[in-house]
Amino acid sequence: MRKTIRKWIVLAAVLALVAAACGDDSSETTATTAGTTATTAGTTETTAGGTATTTGGGADMFTELKIGVILPLTGGIAGPGADARESWELYFDTNGDGTTVTTSNGVNITYVMEDNASDPAVALTVATKLLEVDDVDIVIPGILASTGTAVGDALGERTDVLLLSPFSCNDDFTQRTPLEGYARPAGWSCSQTGKAFAQWAYEEQGYRDIATACTDYTFGYEHCGGFADAFTQLGGTITEQIWHPLGNSDFGTYATQMNELDVDGIVGLVVGGSAVPFVTAYSDFGVKNRAPLLAGVTTLDQSALRGMDKEVALGAIGHSHWSEGADNPSTKQFVEDFEAATGKIASYYAAGNYGAMEWIVAAVEAMSGPEWTPDLMLETMKDGLVVDTPFGQQAMDDEGAMVFNVYINEIQEREDGKLWNVPIFTYENVDQYYGRDRDEYLTQPPYTKDFQGTGVGG
């Protein structure tokens, strides 16, 4: 008898938990279109059927555009995923009614957001759902390079869908083996920013001998390859390259290795949860007293800074196409809005998703014609469009990659005591081949562990 009662008590507790799990579902599940379209005041009129909407110009215009956003909301990189989601929702809240944004030429943009659990196989399943159940026009394929590759590969043969990737940055998708119907609005190429960083290290700091300590996978090879190649082209030397495994959290042995190097600086790249232990070890083991850390884009990103001790990170130098402390109006506005909505300083992941949406809206507003096609949108984006995004002004090259500012950032303490990236030097209009001739550049192989530039190793 007692056993039965105990079982029922457990059952009741479990059911209560289930209820709690589903409780705030409505606030967290994603917005989907329900046939209703809200329009911003005075811009457009929607007919009863919700179809033919015309603008003040009177031209025939497509009226609906639906975006499928795949994000890692659970799993290994749920943290950055949350930033990306919140900024996306912020865009729809501030520029629309939360579910729909209406452009100045009367196009209603809606979205469906799905979780890929940080897993490419789940991303593929979700992509099928977005394409075949939700019938989306544009897909944003997640944050990790692996999910980007998986979804990109699956959509490669679909001519009716546009793939826009503000995060995953595989060089060759816009270089040697371009994907069809693909571009990176508000995104970047993995090796792009390192080229400008190398120029700063060589020319502004006078560094001549540099070592790298980067994560041992494709993103690490391309990101650090970009730096190493450009640095040696300028005349510097890459004396040592240390590779640490993805997801590593104990950097003691690597810090010891780094302590034995006689160099002017060490390029350090880590992603996600490895950032805090890496930067902490770099400081605690005294490496930073021997050679300054020259951080890769994700190493000192705001998403990582939130968990770092002041004495560890303060004064560290990094680089990125994102700088939350940059003194330009669009960055300031975005950082302010994002902080008001979420209480967090915006990270690169937040800026990326918000920027992608600004690109989409800007492109739609520059488009005309009764039918939306991926090619038409790509052409519009590449046709001299300059978009004011949280990153600053950006343009797209003919291959779908970004041209943007690269900031050399210093970690400073804000008035309220929070750490943030503040630019100390800016390189403007950095493209994916920065400082190199495109055709000459493309004759060399993509950056791998074995190839980090013609002047490296050997």
Partner: protein, 340 residues
């Protein structure tokens, strides 16, 4: 005389359910969306994978948490040929099959002399070795970026046709497993679960038995791997992480370990929780955890065990099955003390 009459009520219901499931399987693609069809295809492949694990964990009592290593090696075999060479489908499948079976042989040789906790530890290590190789051999596996460019055979390219192809393969494999667990080999495996010493006393070489078990189980995991890689048309290290090896074990436990239908049901529940419920409920992982807690609390023999116990108690008039006695310590004590 009607042969059906000769069957007991339980058998007749089982037969009806089986026929019902087959008919549902045949007509399904005509009534559901392509997204749901993809999930069902994934569930079928997962079921085959979970059955291969259940052959070890459920029948032989040797829990493996490294089986994704075999599945993943087969996937990489197919992926490598498809992505890095211009080999055709036949070569892809051959290489995938050989790769998967090679992994099974190596795994078997490594683990054939261990049992209990040590067996679990060795299999975890095996799975992690494959994961490490997948993450580090960039030129072969593409590391985190994985291997894109894998395409299904032309005549089963559509999701619709691929579903039927998967259904046929999984059915044939299930039938084969059905035969395997009823063969002398299957009984010997059950013997291992009961007492390895007794199996040895009866003249079996238990180490060889375990090695064969790896080959048979590895065969089905390899087939599941080949089906999975063509379903996803992609492979990367997340397919071989520890979680990927633990999932089929959970599927088997949830559905009913030591049965063939159990992993099937567990696979469908978990695949739909992960991919379908997660579209509606953000905290689907909480729901998944709760499902396990509930099953462990109220249905220790999994969903199949619970339903079958209920059926025997209420409808068939008998109290539990033999297996339920074996799994419940109190009843087992009682049975043993009666017989002793």
């Amino acid at each position: 005389m009607n042969p059906l009459r000769a069957l007991s009520l339980t058998r007749r219901v089982q037969l009806a359910l089986l026929v019902g499931a087959l008919v549902a399987g045949m007509v399904l693609p005509h009534v559901v969306s392509s997204f749901i069809l993809r999930l069902v295809t994934l569930a079928l492949v997962s079921a085959l994978f979970a059955m291969s694990v259940d052959l070890m964990a459920g029948y032989a009592g040797l829990v493996t948490i490294g089986q994704a290593g075999i599945l993943g090696t087969a996937m990489y075999g197919v992926g490598y040929v498809a992505s890095k060479t211009d080999g055709g489908i036949a070569l892809q499948i051959t290489v995938g099959f050989v790769a998967g079976m090679t992994a099974a042989v190596i795994f078997g040789l490594m683990a054939m002399r261990s049992s209990g906790v040590y067996f679990i530890l060795i299999t975890i290590a095996q799975g992690m070795i494959i994961w490490g190789l997948a993450s580090l051999l960039v030129n072969i596996t593409g590391a985190e970026n994985g291997l894109p460019g894998i395409r299904r055979p032309v005549n089963i390219e559509s999701g619709f046709r691929y579903y039927y192809a998967t259904l046929v393969v999984v059915l044939i494999c299930s039938l084969a497993l059905f035969v395997v667990v009823r063969s002398p080999f299957g009984h010997a495996l059950k013997g291992l679960r009961g007492s390895e010493t007794r199996v040895r006393m009866l003249g079996h070489n238990s180490a060889f038995l375990k090695f064969y078990m790896f080959l048979v189980s590895g065969f089905f995991a390899t087939v599941a791997g080949i089906l999975l890689v063509y379903l996803n048309e992609f492979v990367n290290p997340t397919d071989v992480i520890l979680g990927a090896s633990a999932l089929p074990v959970l599927m088997a436990i949830l559905g009913g370990i030591g049965t063939l239908i159990g992993p099937f049901i567990g696979a469908f529940v978990i695949v739909f929780l992960r991919n379908w419920v997660s579209l509606r409920v953000d905290r689907w992982q909480t729901l998944m955890g709760l499902t396990f807690i509930l099953v462990v609390l109220f249905a220790r023999e999994g969903l199949v065990g619970a339903v079958s116990a209920w059926w025997h108690k209420r409808i068939d008039g008998r109290d539990g099955g033999v297996s339920s006695v074996l799994h419940e310590p109190e009843k087992r004590e009682a049975v043993l003390s009666e017989s002793g």
